[in-house]
């Protein structure tokens, strides 16, 4: 459904994306991961036809993203990474305006979404909180029931409850056969919603993988405070675990899937005052990919 082949797009600064190749098949949900400035938004801008690639092609549903952008927009929903709404409008005015611009008549889906995300669209958008603006952006992207959704950091600013609500929305759209490309920083979200994931770094795709596969490869990080640090360090090193000692005497131990059992049994040999699992950030995954040096 979404195809990018050999696309290069550079800015004056020399940054950009280089020779990107990927496809999102119809009905798939693909996560697009990468650190800030890696080129996620640039790719998305090209897909929406806002920017013209220097070379290569991209298309959505067999329509060229540059030449046939207005055609594509008919069946595409988009959430910008940095949402800015037209000035001086209220939330419901904005939604009505977007419907009018698209020629959508029915308000049924809009009302359904407003209810689902618990948004009251009355009042000036300027006075909205960041979360409310994000919800408004989500509704604007989903309300015309598009076949393809391109979402740039769709959950930024949402509280955990709403992030779950949003995940439900994505899964129900997926069940309806929608094609979704979603950029994110947060691995947990991608893990929950996407089938496959695309990882970009410095404008180049470094990995395109199934989420399950990535999960298996990913190492967990346990934050551990031992009773006798010297003893504990010795035992862990002997067990062959990668670890890092933080300044306050806390250990960070990297454990891959197959070594989980052995880690628990090894840790049982010394006094553990505290143990928790560290939230996996994208950076940790990259560390995993490139070794600790990166």
């Amino acid at each position: 459904m979404i195809t990018v082949s050999g696309m290069t797009l550079t800015y004056h600064s020399g940054k950009g994306v280089f020779d990107l190749n990927f496809t999102v098949p119809k009905g798939a949900v693909m996560g697009y991961l990468g650190p800030n400035g890696a080129g996620k938004t640039t790719t998305i801008r090209a897909l929406l036809g806002f920017m013209r690639p220097d070379s290569g092609k991209c298309s959505v549903g067999n329509l060229d993203c540059v030449e046939q952008a207005p055609e594509i927009q008919k069946k595409l929903g988009y959430i910008p990474g940095e949402i800015s709404f037209p000035e001086g409008m209220s939330g419901d005015e904005f939604l009505a305006f977007m419907s009018a611009m698209r020629g959508t008549k029915s308000t049924e889906r809009k009302n359904l979404l407003l209810e689902m995300l618990e948004l009251d669209p009355r009042g000036r958008i300027k006075k909205f909180s960041k979360g409310m603006k994000q919800k408004l952006g989500i509704i604007a992207a989903f309300m015309h029931n598009p076949e393809v959704l391109i979402l740039d950091e769709p959950t930024s600013g949402l509280d955990p409850l709403m992030q779950n609500r949003f995940a439900e929305l994505i899964l129900s759209e997926k069940a309806n056969g929608k094609t979704i490309l979603m950029s994110s920083h947060i691995f947990e979200q991608v893990e929950k919603m996407c089938d496959s994931v695309l990882i970009i770094k410095d404008g180049r795709i470094v990995e395109q993988a199934n989420v399950q596969k990535l999960k298996d490869e990913q190492r967990r990080i346990f934050v551990l405070r031992p009773g006798e640090p010297d003893v504990a360090a010795g035992i862990l090193k002997a067990g062959g675990f990668d670890m890092r000692v933080e300044q306050n005497g806390v250990f960070e131990v990297f454990v891959s899937g197959e070594k989980m059992d052995s880690f628990v049994k090894t840790a049982a040999k010394f006094t553990v005052l505290n143990l928790s699992v560290k939230q996996q950030s994208l950076e940790d995954i990259f560390i995993n990919y490139y070794g600790k040096g990166e």
Partner: protein, 242 residues
Amino acid sequence: MSLALFKHTLRRSWILLVIFFGVLTMYMTVVISMYNPEDMAGLIGMIEAFPEGLRIAFGFDALVTDLTAYLASWLYGMLMIGFPMVYSIILGNALVAKMVDNGSFVYLLSTPTPRVKIIVTQGIYALTSLLILFIALFAVGVLSAEAMFPGELNISAFFRLNVTTILVNMVVMMIAFFFSCLFNEARLSLSFGAGIPIAFLLMNMLGGSAPDLKVLSEISIFGFYDPVKLIAENSVWGVNLV
């Protein structure tokens, strides 16, 4: 042309139009009410006391005494160019460059509306709003002149004067709008969109004040525009179509 967008633009920008209409209405009625046929002789005497260069620079160059010519020189010499120019600069910038700059233009592009259609719609709004401004001001002019000095205003000449002034202002609007579309930063759009019309205006004033600098006013778009001559003869206004 997209009707939905036109309505949106209208809702966003009508206040600006009303403000300029209010200010110009005030000037127009005040200037008309200051007209006094008996005092005109005294007034002419006063203006003649100014140095000639200064007189021409401010557009009071031809000394005439009937109401229509009085308006042409006092009102249309400077005010009816200057104020609409500010309007054109503000609106022209707001219609495209400002939206591109603050990112809300993205939402227009994420609808099935081709860019050309968006720009054409905004352009149509720009010109239509100027047209409405001048139609309303023409009505104010005619009504207040008839109320205060019945029969004194030469309506057909006044009409001709307004048509030309609209065309001149439309050129200014097009300049501002062109730069608004050309640059993606409001900063640049404003410097060019405002800078060029203001430069033309200054060139015209300078060119009028000294014979040596006459060439300056001839290359300015306002050099073609001569409200006072216009009401006397009606051949000049084709030039403004350029």
